[in-house]
Symmetry: C2
Subunit: 448 residues, 2 copies
Amino acid sequence: MVNPLLLPELREMLAESNSAELVEFCTALNPGRTAEFMEGLDDVDLWSVLQYADLDRRAEIFSYFDEQRQVDLLQGQEPREVATLVDRIASDDRVDLIQQLSPARVKAILPLLPVEDRRDILRLCSYEEGTAGALMTSEVAMLAESLTVAEALKELGKQASELETIYYLYVVDNDNLLRGIVSTRQLVSSLSHPDRTLGEMMETDVIVAEVDEDQESVAEKVERFNLLAIPVVDSGRQLLGIITHDDVIDVVREELTEDAHRIAAVEPLEQDYLRIGLLNLSWKRGIWLIILFFAALLTAFALEHYHEELQNYIWLVSFIPLIISAGGNSGSQSATLVITALTGGQLELTDWRTVMQREIVVSCVLGVFLSTIGYSVAIFMAPTPFAALVIPLTLLAVIIVGCFFGAALPLIFQKLGLDPAMMSNPFVAGIVDILGIVIYINIARVML
Amino acid sequence: MVNPLLLPELREMLAESNSAELVEFCTALNPGRTAEFMEGLDDVDLWSVLQYADLDRRAEIFSYFDEQRQVDLLQGQEPREVATLVDRIASDDRVDLIQQLSPARVKAILPLLPVEDRRDILRLCSYEEGTAGALMTSEVAMLAESLTVAEALKELGKQASELETIYYLYVVDNDNLLRGIVSTRQLVSSLSHPDRTLGEMMETDVIVAEVDEDQESVAEKVERFNLLAIPVVDSGRQLLGIITHDDVIDVVREELTEDAHRIAAVEPLEQDYLRIGLLNLSWKRGIWLIILFFAALLTAFALEHYHEELQNYIWLVSFIPLIISAGGNSGSQSATLVITALTGGQLELTDWRTVMQREIVVSCVLGVFLSTIGYSVAIFMAPTPFAALVIPLTLLAVIIVGCFFGAALPLIFQKLGLDPAMMSNPFVAGIVDILGIVIYINIARVML
């Protein structure tokens, strides 16, 4: 998001070193909007303007820049200034950025950071991508259960400016084992009882994420339990950090976009569409195109096998694409509906009987309808009205087969522990294409 | 989510009216987990158990039940008890539920609610589905700018138990016009300056949603500015309510699932897959199947037109499905990648030139690769190695055409203000199928 409106003014202020106005620019607006207005500047100017914001503000504005821009700035600007900024970036975002810098640059910046931050960065770097550990921030409000409401509030006031969120307080013992949580809302509601302790107020049945838990499973918990943040613990229940709601939205978006790609037979990209290397992109598409291609080759062999019939009834050839696409389209509708319902939690494997019954009814309705249209066209292209009946009968059969396999295969792959989104469509397309041809020619053989 | 583990115990406790244990069950666990353990009971037992929770807890546990279950309970249980519960449900959820009750039931329950709640419900009902107004809750912390930190905290303590979130305080004037916001975190950090006023601390550049703004645009703002909640105002900037992060996750999920359905040529369902009526489902699928069917009919006419060529070179027929599916698959890959990148904000219309250049490179790579495989098969099925060249040449052309239209059409539809997800795939499939046939036969004509 670049907004060019204020660029001339900003350049002028910089030329005049007009610090009063630059400070005003950095503080008056919402930091996200400040970022929009600045993002059109080149790296040097942008960096100069940023220096007029106080440290926390600077990190906040910085966080709204495009990720690639953030990396470029950290890569190119003066190391000491960069280190000052990095110190204030939320610990989860900071790690993501540092992992994209050149090794030489990392080596230049890390020694300029306080020991504690350095350790934190190295620790967070060690968690595998896609797990709770890689998403979490280690800045979390940890308090002892013996604290009273009044003491907790005071302690929180000291910590608040350092923390990403203060909406839950995590009650821990001396070994940092998680004992319970108190929401800030509970704390504020209890101001009239300043002597109550956190131990008396806390919820002990806390929903937690394991540090090596898959990010989709974490997102699912946050959504189901309507959490603002979820604590991350190790196998001994030691509190390591928290994952906040904004990271969860990103996970949900990532996960659903991956599903959409897989349904269209593209390996998930892991990078922005415009930024991924073209060879990499070709590979992620090519691998599935080749699998689909081999499935389609089967149809070529099948048709080769039926040459004689086709030669005798050449009008049948005209309808081959129509029949295959009717089966393929209805199958991919069914597969997509079942896959998204599985992902969205609307459907469980135990519902399989209902799904199949419903799909059979729907496919009959759709089949009868499209067959009627198909017949009314075929009647003009076939030699006799009786011969034309081959077309509607085939369409009906192919659409039923398409919906059946489209709905069944995702359920089967889910049952087998495979990703239904990834596996289904190539197989649905392959099976439906080949069955479509076989059904078509055999109906024609019987009737003609 | 039903967990049957505790059902026998719960039934026994109910039979014995063991209130001590039932109260314990309702309070000891996380309310979401309590809901899971209860959901296997029938409506009457479930309702009886719920009565052992205090009012706020009851509403919280209730909120975790499946939506249909919530409606059934409100529809069937004793009106006075229902009204007591409805009074405590968050105002946005409450309205969604009431809109699904029978008119007779609504008439029985509304008069049992406090006047204020009744007014609130009627007002929220009036906003159109899919707008900010329909998503918002009217329970929001509104405070005057003259309040000091200490006073604000005290006031917040009083309001906290009534509010869905207290993570931003909204500063309003006497007419409820929104003047600024203060985060609870700022408030807590300022405890050491208890005499500072909200007016001195507040951010005045507030990101807001208009009450009639589309929900996707609201979700986009919340994501971009990393908000926990966004205030909803009318055209005069009067504060009407807030939309919280959990509703935003739902919108993101809904929006992306709709896109996935549209890409697979299904009109968005608006209901759960298992719950939507079968005729309705057939319609939402049938409408696009028919459009795709007419597109495929064009291929039938084209092939009819080329009967003579096909009769003479019958081996060409075998490759028809292969060629069409190679074009269709690569086209739908491109379309899906472009559509998801547009939805995810990774791609703007102004990037069209880059997109097309990249697609042409990728399609050449993919085309050359698949052509090679295609040729090595065709050589065995065609009469001469030279004749077999028709297949790889066609494949290359069709894949380039597929990627080109797959990438271009979503951009064109976006430019025209139409939904790229809805419009693209039928057109991509139609255009690529028909061009595939025309290219195939014409290459064959020239070469054979």
